[in-house]
Symmetry: C3
Subunit: 262 residues, 3 copies
């Protein structure tokens, strides 16, 4: 059975997510999986990060409906993004694009054919009225070209991948979690080729330079100490054991980061 996932900032209280699932289930029989409905309201970047982290684990053919959509009701477009293996449906505000870059070989279609939307379209809830029925019709194998034309001027967002050359890794900060832990786009699996747990690193972030221990997890350094580790997204993270690394280092998403291995 094909899978449709849902990622929103709606919370669960009002029944909005259920309305989306009802719409989908009226059109097709698929397995419905929640990614999360607790994205910080209107935080497109956070939604994009969680979506990108999740898609890797889903099977070929999964359709992801993502709705963090502060521009709903304005002229922002709705899009379908096809990739090598999975399909993304949502607003054209960058939300889908890190997942698209991650999945690879993507093509973006604007959703224009109202044959695949609900009859009555609200100004405030395109997740239910447009994105959910479009996703269900995709599961039913409606051709993408039927849904709308290909576009090239979509709003992009790309967390990218850090580079490791010789004894230097360079990348950027792509996410700061609610504890102030700093997630970079430097892949953990490649770091492990160069580094043993317990090694020291030199990190350059903004105008700061700081020696850091590379450890297996947060509790391997003293309380208050800075550390680098590989998080569950398989990305290098910087943190402070029981502290707030982002505040301490004064950094924010998109800041560049350089790491020297001794």
């Amino acid at each position: 059975m094909k899978i449709i996932t849902f990622l929103t900032d709606f919370g669960m209280k009002g029944g909005y997510v259920a309305q989306m699932k009802g719409v989908v289930s009226s059109i097709t029989d698929s397995k419905l999986i929640d990614i999360t409905h607790n994205i910080t309201p209107h935080d497109v970047r956070e939604g994009a990060f969680v979506l990108q982290n999740s898609v890797a684990y889903f099977p070929v053919g999964t359709v992801h409906v993502a709705v963090v959509d502060p521009g709903v009701g304005t002229s922002r477009r709705g899009i379908v993004v096809t990739t090598k293996s999975q399909i993304l449906v949502g607003p054209d505000n960058g939300l889908l694009m890190p997942a698209a870059h991650f999945l690879g070989d993507f093509i973006v279609y604007e959703i224009t054919n109202n044959k695949y939307m609900l009859n009555s379209i609200s100004n405030t809830f395109h997740g239910r009225d447009i994105f959910s029925p479009v996703a269900a019709h995709i599961v039913n194998e409606v051709p993408f070209e039927e849904i709308g034309g290909r576009i090239y001027n979509f709003i992009d967002m790309d967390f990218g991948k850090g580079k490791i050359t010789g004894r230097t890794a360079t990348g950027k900060i792509i996410h700061i979690d609610r504890f102030g832990n700093i997630v970079t786009n430097i892949e953990g699996i490649r770091l492990r080729d160069f580094l043993d747990y317990g090694s020291k690193l030199m990190a350059f972030i903004g105008d700061k330079q700081q020696e850091i221990s590379f450890v297996k997890s947060y509790s391997f350094v003293e309380k208050g100490q800075l550390l680098a580790t590989i998080g569950s997204s398989n990305l290098m993270e910087l943190g402070v054991n029981q502290g707030n690394a982002a505040r301490e280092l004064g950094v924010k998403p998109d800041d560049e980061i350089k790491i020297l291995f001794y």
Copy 2:
């Protein structure tokens, strides 16, 4: 595959919803969809509102189990409500009835046949012990008359539908959300036949009279200003941009409202 939905005030922490789903899955193979489990504890009216809003989007044959049940363990009855297209199961306390009125042509049966309940019935959890197994047996096409006899003296609750005559809409307040926004039973789709966004309305609520702008969404008026809009439930809502309309107007559910279009 048939769908069973769940709406409760149980929260997700204690595993109670899972117990209901386990019971259902022991009797029938159906698709299980959560409407919400975050209804304010014991708030039957809020549960009724969210249920009524959700049913419209589900396919024919869906069975909805709703449990906001402050009277559990007393003599309040359990009921099955059949309608034109979907089935409702829960306590006889009004919770199911706005959805029943909305879906139309409803018949109410009291649940009495303990053949369709769990063997051991707790005093505190009829959602698991009675309503879930009954819903599963309904999916298995047990006739309604087998479950119990038809009753006429059920506890009713009806949000009704506002009326639009000439240049006047009359209705009532059916829900006040946690931001103080006021949801009425006046249908938005009909308002749009009379009104352009940007028009002015005159609203009479209780003994107050107030001019209001009819706008596409909350952000189309200044902070602190009163507005009327069509919400995602396709109902006319009154709100204050970044403020609490219900408190400002001193209104409550069931208060009557009259709107004049100029």
Copy 3:
């Protein structure tokens, strides 16, 4: 369709649960049911209690993945526990064992065969990388002996069952909920053979002795009064109406309790 359930302390925000479900769905087609993801972080005992309470209601063949796992990344083992009717997968820290004792006739296997894990195993997320794929392979009928060898020195946890002899019930406290209500391992269904609602009991807890009313539910005594009742888990609970019984009686999990019926 076979069922896989999920119980964790991950919350829903970060998409971790969805990653587990994506992994499972990449290996097998099963019905996925959440028990809860809101276990107090690292509270293995609370997780064990909710799991034990839930398993009774699931059909034969259900596979439960439970992850409350403060020892992840250390040398703690992963286990599969088969029982008379259902299967449990998770860390070897006691979490699964009360459910295993409840289900009966259990056998514990250590998970060692990396053929049934993800290719890349993180230090922090065995729920996704080991327990979920193992559960999916079990649904696909991989023999337990293929997953790993039988072990006998697993970490046990057993809530046990209280005893009723003559006019005395003895047992222990197995859970204190967030309201301070005290759940014992004395089965309610057996109490009802001895007691009518409204009877008085004499309770001995630690060095305290206290007369208590046995009532149908919390509201049957005055505010502030101690009561005994049968909760929805069908276990004897002690509570204070609108108060905190555990704090008042100064008790904690595993404390022994003795009840005399007059």
